[in-house]
């Protein structure tokens, strides 16, 4: 373990997961787990206070792996957005994850920012979480007490609150490959075309055999206190023919699922309407793809 003392708290950079979990178990919330630091440092600079004590996860081999099997890809929490987007299995089978990773900040940010950081920072506007929700990802968390796997859809509790315990670290994210019959749609509506924070983002995985919706997952960013799956919409569409879905049905379902707000970047009205429009556009795309297949 190397520890650099500084005027602003301490900087721990362990070389193994066991060491890192040990520090985390002892210090709990007195250390801030960090990897790319692309969001944390902005906040530390803007604040009047001193920098906190940091648990730097970037040197942990266990968090820097990408493993592929027949079912999917397991991505270490400290893997950068750039590495993720350029990985052949991700590029070949998980196109929405490539798209969201490439929409995360600038290229320079993508070279440092990590998938784990994007999840654990727990911003409702984060770029990659909607895609992970739509694909049905699972998280592996570890502590000195052992490790556990949970469905990502259950992870976010409320604004900046998650199911991670104060002694836990996120180790990896497992993303299953979607069915070959599923179609996927991802669109981020930001304040501009690059280096933007999303006003609305939608990630869709839609499985519609023979033109009827079997399973549809719609995941949004910036539409509530957490990245969220639109469960009422999924339920409302299940079993319906793709062609001829009424926008009023979508609007009604999303009124239950989403709780957008006015903020410095956009308005609740705009977000609500664009969310409906994006869902309708995704359905139209899926419908067109289905027509081409038949």
């Amino acid at each position: 373990m190397s520890v650099q003392a500084s005027a602003a708290g301490e900087w721990h950079r362990p070389g193994s997961l066991a060491e890192a979990l040990d520090i985390r178990a002892r210090a709990k919330d007195a250390v801030v787990p960090a990897a790319g630091c692309t969001d944390l440092m902005v906040g530390w600079n803007a604040g009047a206070g001193r920098w906190p004590t940091v648990l730097d996860l970037s040197a942990l081999p266990e968090l820097n792996r990408i493993d592929v099997d027949d079912a999917g890809v397991t991505i270490g929490a400290a893997v950068s957005c750039s590495r993720l987007a350029n990985h052949p299995a991700v590029a070949g089978r998980l196109p929405m994850l490539v798209a969201s990773a490439r929409q995360t900040g600038s290229v320079a940010i993508q070279n440092r920012a990590t998938l784990g950081g994007n999840i654990m920072n727990a911003s409702p506007a984060a770029d990659n979480p909607p895609v992970l929700l739509a694909y049905g990802a699972r998280l592996t968390l570890a502590s000195t007490r052992g490790s556990r796997s949970i469905d990502y859809a259950d992870f976010h509790l409320d604004y900046k609150r998650t199911r991670a315990e104060p002694d836990e670290l996120l180790v990896s994210v497992t993303v299953p490959f979607p069915s070959p019959y599923a179609s996927v749609h991802y669109r981020k509506v930001g304040t501009r075309r690059a280096q933007a924070i999303s006003k609305v983002a939608l990630s869709v995985l839609l499985d519609a055999g023979a033109g009827v919706v079997r399973e549809a997952r719609f995941a949004f960013a910036s539409m509530g206190p957490v990245p969220l799956l639109a469960g009422s919409l999924s339920a409302a569409l299940r079993g319906r023919p793709l062609a001829g879905i009424d926008p009023a049905l979508v609007t009604r379902a999303l009124a239950t699922d989403l709780s957008p707000r006015d903020d410095i970047r956009s308005t609740a009205d705009y977000r609500r309407q664009v969310a409906v429009n994006l869902v309708m556009a995704a359905i139209a795309d899926a419908s067109a793809a289905e027509a081409r297949r038949n």
Binding site: R193, Q195, I264, T267, Q273
Partner: protein
């Protein structure tokens, strides 16, 4: 003259190498032994009274340098048009963000904690005013009447014009504020040197403005104050007047600290919160025409939000008023312009200086009038463009050198305007029928921009500049014109090199230091190349004549070696070799500033811009898909720098039109004062900007050059909004137009249809 001329050549910029190699030193790079860092404590309420300043517990205040208004040895006011703005507020104040206490310490971290520990006990103004309408309706009082200036420009007989108008259009147009977002935030370093001179170095456009405020605030004579410009990372008008405040603050801290160096540099958030921005505007236009499109009358009520102090608002307003009629002939016109007081931080100079606001309104009104007449926007402009023999509304005669139709023709040709307009209409009809979400539109703006100070401004300034040479024939441009990235060091050196007949490598610009350079006026108003360039050309010719007369320089055919030899011979018999010149305005520039009549500018640059957009109805996002900028600017001194000015100005105009929205908090200061939330376009948002120059004769500057820097800020706003309205059939009348605004306009339109 020997060799090829430098004027007109795309020579590499003089400042390029140092900036590319990272050798250029900006104010935050400066450091000296014993240096302290400065910081500012500001008011939080939108006006009120500071009743008490409390220095809180937990801080060793004896280790800090502390300055308040009572420590000011001289006048507590920045030296602008009025003396209403204090350098440090005490007692009553007018806006949130006003500086009250200055602190300095060697440790920046302790300084941060100390700033947080100062508590201002403020009794807030109960009824602050944040909009032009509220200020004019006197819903709260910032200053008596809430109006800094009320100007009127009246020509002909409005009633007679109304009587012959067949069609009348009325509209209300608004533009928002805009932040400069220069790359380098503002900052100054002040200290007293070994000779007892107060030296202030920093990022600025106008060293003599800074000097004026420093002498007044410190009570020192100009000989014991020295202002030096260091490498300046962009200005756009934002470093015209606010550097005087920061310089005064740094100087007060240094004086209080016995002359120790004090550096006061803002971070981005403080810079955006505290420094001036573009004036928000609202313009009411009534415009009438005969059936054939000829303008019958124009009635404009133009108002700018000046913020809480006068600053430069009167001159921003006068430029806005003069540009309000656009480049059109109109026999009967009335323009009323008011600079209005609100409790926002003061607004100030920003590229275009009032003209982008009023040009936006007239261009949108021309589109509205065209609709009402059943003409196209192009047809209406064609009928009314100023032509040789006309007089502009202010009264400037249009001479034979002006061919604005040629500028418009080239814009139509290069953008393929007519064919695209038709193709877009067909595309939109097809997509609407098929239920597809994309719509396309095209917009045209025709405009001109007067270069140099308005009216008698240049006469009053009487700018001076010098050229000097040493024994080796190395020449220096000696002027107070600041290079801040716009390229004027290079352009001025090109002008001087040609006037002397020496290669460009022989000429450099002397450091801008008020102990060395004369007052060439501020670096603003598209005046540097045209006005200062002309003075320097005269000075260089005088220097050459002096060498011919007294040092045997051949009149013709002297190369650089002959020039150097002549310089050496001259300096054998004289202590220095230099020549100066002072600006003398052309006889044609006569301006009555009371009734706003005459020729307000020595030269106008003319332009036609065409914008193409694609709107996605799914998200209401507007994508700019093409931009064509054709302008007539007289002689182009450096085509690469000139094209860069146009591209940069167009991009800033695109930001003004589609992205940049200053969100105000409850205290009237900028809520989104971070680059994460104040959205300027990136290269991904900008299509190729196609730039074309016409070089017609008659420019008032060296070799017939005209001012150029601000012109490209005027056109993108109106051209882009016209394109959006063309694509959607909407009547949006304000900038910026964000997707949320597009959605609101579409919903309003469909509600109207349903009703």
């Amino acid at each position: 003259m020997s060799g090829r001329g430098a004027v007109g050549a795309p020579v590499v910029r003089k400042d390029a190498a140092a900036k590319i190699l990272g050798e250029a030193r900006y104010v935050d790079d400066l450091s000296c032994p014993g240096m302290l860092h400065g910081a500012t404590v500001r008011t939080r309420s939108a006006g009120g009274t500071v009743e008490r300043i409390e220095f809180g517990p937990g801080v060793d205040w004896s280790s800090f340098v502390v300055v308040t208004a009572s420590d000011i040895p001289g006048v507590n006011a920045t030296q602008m048009i009025e003396l209403d703005q204090p350098v440090l507020a005490s007692g009553r104040y007018r806006h949130a963000g006003e500086p009250v206490v200055l602190l300095a310490h060697a440790d920046r971290r302790l300084l941060r904690e100390a700033v947080a520990a100062v508590r201002l006990h403020e009794r807030p103004n109960p009824s602050p005013v944040f909009s032009i309408d509220d200020a004019l309706a006197l819903r709260g009082e910032v200053c008596p009447g809430n109006v800094y200036r009320d100007y009127r420009m009246e020509r002909g007989d409005l009633a007679a014009g109304e009587a012959v108008a067949d069609v009348v259009f009325e509209g209300r147009f608004e533009t928002g504020s805009q932040e400069h977002v220069y790359i380098e935030p503002q900052g100054m370093l002040a200290q007293i040197d070994a000779a007892g001179v107060l030296v202030v170095e920093g990022s600025m456009q106008c060293p003599y403005y800074v000097l004026g405020t420093l002498t007044a605030v410190t009570g020192r004579d100009p000989g014991s104050v020295r202002v030096v410009q260091c490498t300046t990372g962009g200005g756009f008008g934002g470093k015209e007047e606010y550097p005087s405040h920061i310089a005064a603050h740094a100087a007060l801290l240094s004086l209080r600290a016995g002359g120790r160096p004090v550096k006061l540099v803002y971070d981005r958030a403080e810079d955006m919160l505290a420094t001036p921005k573009r004036h928000p505007s609202r313009t009411l236009v009534r415009i009438g025409a005969r059936r054939d499109g000829r303008l019958a009358f124009l009635d404009v009520d133009f108002a700018l939000d000046g913020g809480a102090y006068t600053t430069l608002s009167p001159v921003v307003l006068s430029r806005g008023v003069i540009h309000a009629p656009g480049p059109y002939a109109c026999p009967h016109a009335r323009v009323r312009g008011r600079a209005v007081a609100t409790n926002h931080p003061p607004n100030g100079a920003f590229r275009g200086f009032g003209a982008p606001q009023s040009i936006f309104a007239i261009e949108q009104a021309m589109d509205g009038l065209a609709r009402a007449l059943g003409m196209t926007p192009l047809e209406l402009r064609r009928v009314n463009l100023l032509r040789p023999g006309d007089r502009s509304v202010p009264g400037q005669p249009i001479d034979e050198t002006t061919d604005f139709d040629a500028v418009l023709d080239q814009a139509l040709y290069e953008s393929d305007y007519l064919a695209r307009r038709e193709a877009f209409a067909a595309f939109n009809a097809g997509n609407a029928a098929a239920g597809l979400p994309l719509r396309r539109g095209i917009g045209l703006a025709t405009f001109h921009h007067g270069a140099g100070f308005t009216g008698n401004g240049e006469v009053v300034l009487a700018s001076m500049a010098k050229v000097r040479a040493d024994r080796r024939g190395q020449v220096e441009v000696v002027a107070s014109s600041s290079e801040m990235g716009q390229g004027n060091t290079t352009s001025l050196c090109q002008v001087v090199a040609d006037a002397l007949g020496v290669p460009l490598e022989r000429v450099t610009q002397a450091r801008v230091d008020t102990h060395d350079v004369p007052d060439s006026g501020p670096t603003v108003a598209s005046r540097t190349c045209m006005v200062v360039g002309l003075i320097l050309e005269q000075a260089a010719r005088r220097l050459r004549a002096e060498l011919v007369a007294k040092a045997g320089l051949p009149v013709e055919g002297a190369d650089e070696h002959a020039f150097a030899a002549a310089c050496a011979r001259y300096l054998d018999g004289h202590p220095t070799l230099e020549a100066e010149a002072r600006y003398e305005p052309p006889a044609s520039v006569q301006w009555d500033e009371v009734v706003f009549e005459g020729s307000p500018y020595a030269s106008y640059a003319w332009a036609s811009y065409v914008a193409e957009v694609e709107v996605d109805l799914t998200t209401c996002e507007v994508a700019l898909t093409g931009f064509t900028a054709v302008q007539e600017v007289g002689r182009v001194v450096n085509p690469v720098i000139a094209a860069g000015q146009v591209e940069g100005g167009v991009v800033q105009g695109i930001g003004f039109a589609l992205f940049e929205k200053v969100v105000w908090d409850g205290n009237g200061t900028m809520a989104n004062n971070r680059m994460t939330n104040y959205i300027i376009p990136t290269s991904a948002d900008i299509p190729p900007v196609r730039v074309f120059f016409q070089e017609q004769p008659g420019g008032a500057g060296p070799s017939g050059a005209k001012g150029l820097g601000e012109l490209p800020m005027d056109g993108p706003g109106p051209a882009i909004l016209s394109a959006v309205n063309d694509a959607l059939g909407t009547r949006i009348a304000s900038l910026p137009v964000l997707p949320e605004d597009v959605m609101d306009a579409l919903q309003a339109a469909s509600a109207r249809e349903a009703a």
